[in-house]
């Protein structure tokens, strides 16, 4: 809708007046044939009710509206107007085309965003500054944040439920596939691949570990120690189909030829540094998984990997 004509200095040419709102044209558009000009907002509103020119009723659609000629735009931009904030004390007189820039910065604008100087750091409209109370505002802020936090927590809980549901379904599905693969070779290949990928995914989720003292290796761990390691593996998400095999491989009796006795171990000591080791969370133990160590010699590796337990020296 157009600018109030009373804001302008001197007389305004009748051609610059919108016939709909009777204000000075704002963002003008013209009808294609008759060239009658209107504010964009005014003519759009009118056409939404009736697709005609409001002056002579020729058919017009919004799509047919055109920009007004440059000469008309120039006449408009040269008009001198007062600022919107006259009621708040602004006495500036501006060319119409610089009004928008002035309004963005006008210091009399009661809604101009101002930073609070009292220390809360919030940015608030100028006219609300006098009423502004840092504590109250921050409390309100905390309240809304807390509300959001509660919402997020609830959402998280719901997501967890969904994930558990999915896990259960997945386990069921795996069970199903295990049953199927006995009879179906294609299914067997697929299931093998899924299992391999599961191991790789799990391996990727574990942190790298560095062994500083290979000499601390316990080659014959007792049952209690083995149980502890197994629990930790299980909690880290170790795929069920390898966990028992892995745990078997924590004792020298199942280790590969290169590791199976104190003597061979001493001979191959320099090869240890080639191992990519993964941390067994919370324990002085590492996993040397086959999928991480395809570069290692055969006599130093077994399927699906090794578990090495240490007295100390794991980083």
């Amino acid at each position: 809708m157009g600018f109030d004509i009373k804001r302008f200095q001197g007389d305004v040419d009748e051609e610059l007046i919108c016939p709909i709102c009777s204000g000075v044209l704002e963002d003008p558009m013209q009808a294609p044939a008759c060239e009658h000009a209107f504010c964009r907002a005014c003519i759009t509103e009118w056409i939404s009710r009736q697709p005609t020119c409001p002056v002579d009723r020729q058919a017009v659609t919004v799509g047919q509206l055109r920009a007004v000629p440059r000469i008309l735009r120039n006449l408009l931009s040269r008009l001198c107007t007062s600022c919107d904030n006259v009621p708040h004390g602004c006495t500036a007189i501006l060319k119409l085309d610089s009004l928008a820039n002035h309004l963005a910065e006008c210091e009399y604008n009661p809604k101009r965003p101002m930073p609070c100087e009292a220390g809360c750091g919030l940015v608030i409209p100028k006219d609300e500054l006098a009423e502004h109370n840092c504590v109250r505002e921050l409390r309100a802020l905390i309240a809304t944040q807390q509300g959001k936090l509660t919402d997020y927590q609830q959402e998280l809980a719901e997501q967890r439920l969904v994930i558990n549901e999915h896990k259960r379904e997945l386990a069921l599905l795996k069970e199903f596939m295990r049953a199927m693969r006995v009879s179906n070779p294609a299914m067997r290949a697929l299931a093998d691949q899924m299992e391999r990928e599961e191991v790789v995914r799990w391996a990727g989720s574990l942190a790298r570990a560095r062994v500083t003292r290979w000499g601390g290796m316990i080659s014959t761990p007792d049952d209690v120690l083995q149980m502890m390691i197994k629990r930790s593996l299980s909690e880290s998400g170790c795929p069920l189909h390898i966990i028992d095999d892995l745990m078997e491989n924590c004792h020298e009796r199942r280790w590969p030829p290169g590791l199976s006795s104190l003597e061979t171990r001493q001979n191959n000591r320099r090869l240890y540094e080639k191992y990519v080791c993964k941390r067994v969370p919370g324990k002085q133990a590492v996993l040397v998984l086959q999928c991480d160590n395809t570069h290692v010699d055969e006599h130093m590796m077994v399927e699906p990997g090794l578990v090495m337990i240490f007295a100390h020296g794991i980083e």
Binding site: I5, P19, I20, C21, C42, E45, W46, Q50, P54, V55
Partner: protein, 199 residues
């Protein structure tokens, strides 16, 4: 009231005040309240018509959506015209309905209503009784319209015969306007009007 409507009405009133029509006494326009939603207009009956020298008051209601929707206008002064209801004063005029255009103003609307008094459109009637009389008994219509103008709109020309017939019914105890409507409706046939009133 919506900003745009109030601004338009303010400007239009100013425009009317400056216009020649006010100077020449063809019509008047004034505010009823300060919210710019209700105005009262007055148009003078055009010369050489049955409405000559009559002063007709109009009720003008400006909707919030003005000028995207037309003003609602009706005659307050009773008038005998095919396009105006003799009962409610409602006006049948295309620009007050589907031919409204946002660039039309109260001034142009009042001028159109005045033009309607000069040239009725009996094929698009608001009052069927009046329209039929207009077509079938043009001279009776003209005298009836003149009579109503004289009685209700301070028109200068009196129809003495019609006044006399109304007087007859008045003496029979009939209310004046009721008597006039009955007589006007029945082409001033006293017998038929009496029969209708007392049946």
């Amino acid at each position: 009231m919506a900003n745009i409507a109030a601004k338009r009405v303010k400007r239009e009133i100013k425009e009317v005040m400056k216009s020649e029509e006010i100077m020449g006494g063809a019509f008047k326009l004034e505010l009823i309240n300060n919210s710019w939603t209700e105005l009262q207009g007055e148009i003078t009956g055009p010369p050489d018509t049955p409405y000559e020298s009559g002063k007709f008051l109009l009720e003008i209601k400006v909707p919030e959506t003005y000028p995207f929707n037309p003003p609602k206008i009706r005659f307050i002064t009773k008038i005998w015209h095919p396009n105006v209801s003799s009962v409610t004063g409602a006006i049948c005029l295309d620009i007050l309905k589907d031919q409204w255009a946002a660039a039309l103003t109260l001034r142009t609307v009042l001028l159109s209503i005045q033009a309607l008094l000069s040239e009725a459109e009996p094929d698009d009637p608001q009052d069927a009784v009046v329209a039929r009389q207009y077509k079938e008994y043009p001279s009776i219509f003209a005298m009836t319209a003149t009579h109503w103008t004289n009685v209700y709109a301070e028109g200068k020309k009196a129809i003495v015969d019609y006044n006399r017939r109304v007087q007859v019914l008045l003496e029979m105890g009939v209310e004046e306007h009721q008597a006039r409507v009955a007589l006007s409706t029945h082409n001033w046939n006293l017998e038929v009007a009496t029969e209708e009133l007392f049946s």
